[in-house]
Subunit: 394 residues, 2 copies
């Protein structure tokens, strides 16, 4: 039994409205005790119990570790030249996602694992303590299976995304590929996956194909997620709600009917503003969703094509600048919202019994995550009650 | 005599078109030798001379340190609550800039110096090796003088900005305040300042007042800079060019005539996109300026009211996403452009004789500064040939 006391917290975001004030459950001059990886006590700094080790937050803000519920970290190569061309307004013919598929297929396990580990470490250094990782650049039974094995080596939140795009070799028979995904590929991947996801979009998978794949995955005991309504209106959100998916991701083009469906469901709308930033696409209207009663999460969408960032503070700043979210809503969406999108009740908040995953900021308030955009503000990240020894990242 | 070799640079941005390819003067598989704080040699990695110390860049990209030619780092307090209210679309009545003036006036030298040092250190950790710092939150002879003394303790690029705003105590007699600025305040500040700057804007200083202040400053041997055309069209850009100012800063609202004036002058247009980000204002049209032949610099505008970031990579990412700049133009503007805006030929490029100020990225290309937005990509910063010991910031 080891215990760690984080003391002299100027402003503590608990996300527990029964513990503190407002939706973020704010406590001032607080302390948090972690024991054996869990939160054992939260209270006023002066009343903090003894502990084996003590961290002095020195008046800084502490919040739950970010829960990044959408990323694609198993890949090789990068697409910097494609990005630069897109920003110049040029068409880029070097293959887009197909180039990442080719690079991923030809990379060794060692290379893919090292790249995923590098990005998880980078995410963690910016305050992320839970991260979901999808497959989707293998697109063969073998390459999807190994992508998920690699994903499972860096996180427990693994998602089978064989239905990311129809690979070139099935271009003339997309139905055949969808059958492969729902059959042998799912069989191979399900043991390593907690979730299944389908990219429902014109040019990717239609509602029928998506439904077949998702139902097959649900029958194997996987939870469901959907890439929905990113590039245009479509059936993705409705399908996600109908099938009880944990999350409909992107949601850039949503109808009033989609909003009603979301707000009367347990399906979270996961917004990925870094993708709109990096593709110069319109941002989803988070304000409209929140006003309609939809539960919103923020995630990075980290991938080498459309959003090559793991930085949740950057996503928070964009959500506030571009999507009409308040700072409080954005911080909640990046922590508790992400936890809801992963159906996790042990992360995303700091309350007795929850995982001791938290971030000490180099700032007095969570407001600074949006107020000081681009600025590394993570002083220290504690995960499962363990310090990472990282300091001075200010 | 001490020497430092930075070897095995995968991609070296020299900004010297006679040394390397394109406007960024790119060399591949290069090395740089620093001796006594200056660049002594640039060439192919295999031909690098011996040195006292060697840094292995391990294939990463190296570029000149960022030159941030516009910041306001001498202040106390923060305005996070004002920012949050603005983002919620609410009016905020707590005083805006006046609240920073009040906090600055009542702060001790120790507090002001520590705050400026903290921000300079933060800027440096994100790759900035030259930074201009303005006064402008004192607005009395004594408080401006001490602001410049403090600025001079952290940088040689100090700017007297007594003409930032007319303080409340002169609200009924702004002309009297302008006279104070051009007279006793300038007398007190000139010994600590390299530059003078005026905020030319409706509600701040008109062209006549600005011209009188700037001419008085020039007569004292100070170089000139102008806050111009930020909030609406106005005479700022024309005045800057007429008086031979080194830089016209902001330039959000510029006419065709302004563009012609800039492009036929030595006056740099310094763009500050983090200010537009943090105030939800329209971005200046950098593309139009570049196409008209204007020299463009990028700077942070770091200040507690409208742009509380020191992060030049963030500014580069915004310039590419929002202002139509290519990655190459943005990187040039944040390095060589800033040097032009400060009329410095010893920084902003890496060539024999220039200052050995450079940044090793945790990335293979400068493209990643925009391609990986929000991601800390600075592996190590070398300033005047000195290593800062900082590693692993990726």
């Amino acid at each position: 039994m080891t215990s760690l006391l984080i003391d002299r917290i100027g402003l503590l975001v608990t996300n527990d409205p029964w513990t503190g004030a407002g939706p973020l459950g704010i406590l001032r001059n607080a302390a948090v005790l972690a024991e054996n990886g869990r939160i054992a006590w939260v209270g006023p700094s002066g009343e903090a119990p003894e502990a084996d080790e003590r961290v002095d937050a020195d008046g800084a803000c502490v919040l739950p570790g970010f829960v990044d519920s959408h990323s694609h970290l198993v890949f090789a190569g990068d697409r910097a030249a494609e990005f630069a061309a897109r920003m110049r307004g040029e068409e880029y013919s070097a293959g887009g996602i197909a180039s990442t598929v080719a690079a991923t297929r030809s990379a060794s396990d060692v290379v893919l694992t090292a790249n995923a580990e590098r990005l998880v470490a980078e995410a963690r250094a910016s305050g992320t303590t839970t991260i979901e990782v999808k497959s989707g650049y293998g697109l063969t039974v073998e390459d999807e299976e190994r992508s998920l094995r690699i994903a499972a080596s860096v996180t427990r939140e693994t998602t089978f995304l064989g239905a990311h795009v129809v690979p070139a070799e099935y271009r003339d028979d997309p139905d055949e590929y969808a059958k492969l995904v729902a059959g042998p590929m799912l069989d191979a991947c399900a043991p390593h996956a907690r979730w299944a996801d389908v990219f429902v979009e014109r040019g990717a998978f239609d509602a029928d194909a998506a439904e077949a794949i998702l139902r097959a995955a649900a029958a194997r005991g996987l939870g469901l997620r959907v890439h929905a309504n990113q590039l245009g209106p479509g059936p993705g959100v409705q399908l996600a709600v109908e099938l009880g998916a944990a999350s409909a991701d992107h949601c850039t083009y949503v109808s009033a009917r989609d909003l009603t469906a979301l707000s009367s469901s347990e399906t979270v709308a996961t917004l990925l503003p870094a993708a709109e930033f990096s593709t110069r696409a319109p941002y989803p209207d988070a304000r409209r969703m929140l006003d309609a009663g939809v539960t919103v999460a923020l995630a990075s969408d980290c991938n080498p094509g459309s959003s090559y960032t793991t930085n949740m503070p950057f996503c928070i700043a964009l959500a506030v600048r571009e999507m009409g979210m308040t700072c409080e809503e954005a911080v909640w969406a990046a922590t508790a919202g992400g936890a809801r999108a992963l159906r996790r009740s042990d992360v995303g908040w700091l309350t007795k019994g929850s995982k001791a995953d938290l971030t000490i900021l180099a700032a007095p308030s969570y407001l600074h995550l949006a107020y000081r955009p681009g600025t590394p503000l993570i002083r220290e990240v504690i995960s499962g009650g363990e310090r990472d020894g990282r300091r001075g990242a200010e």
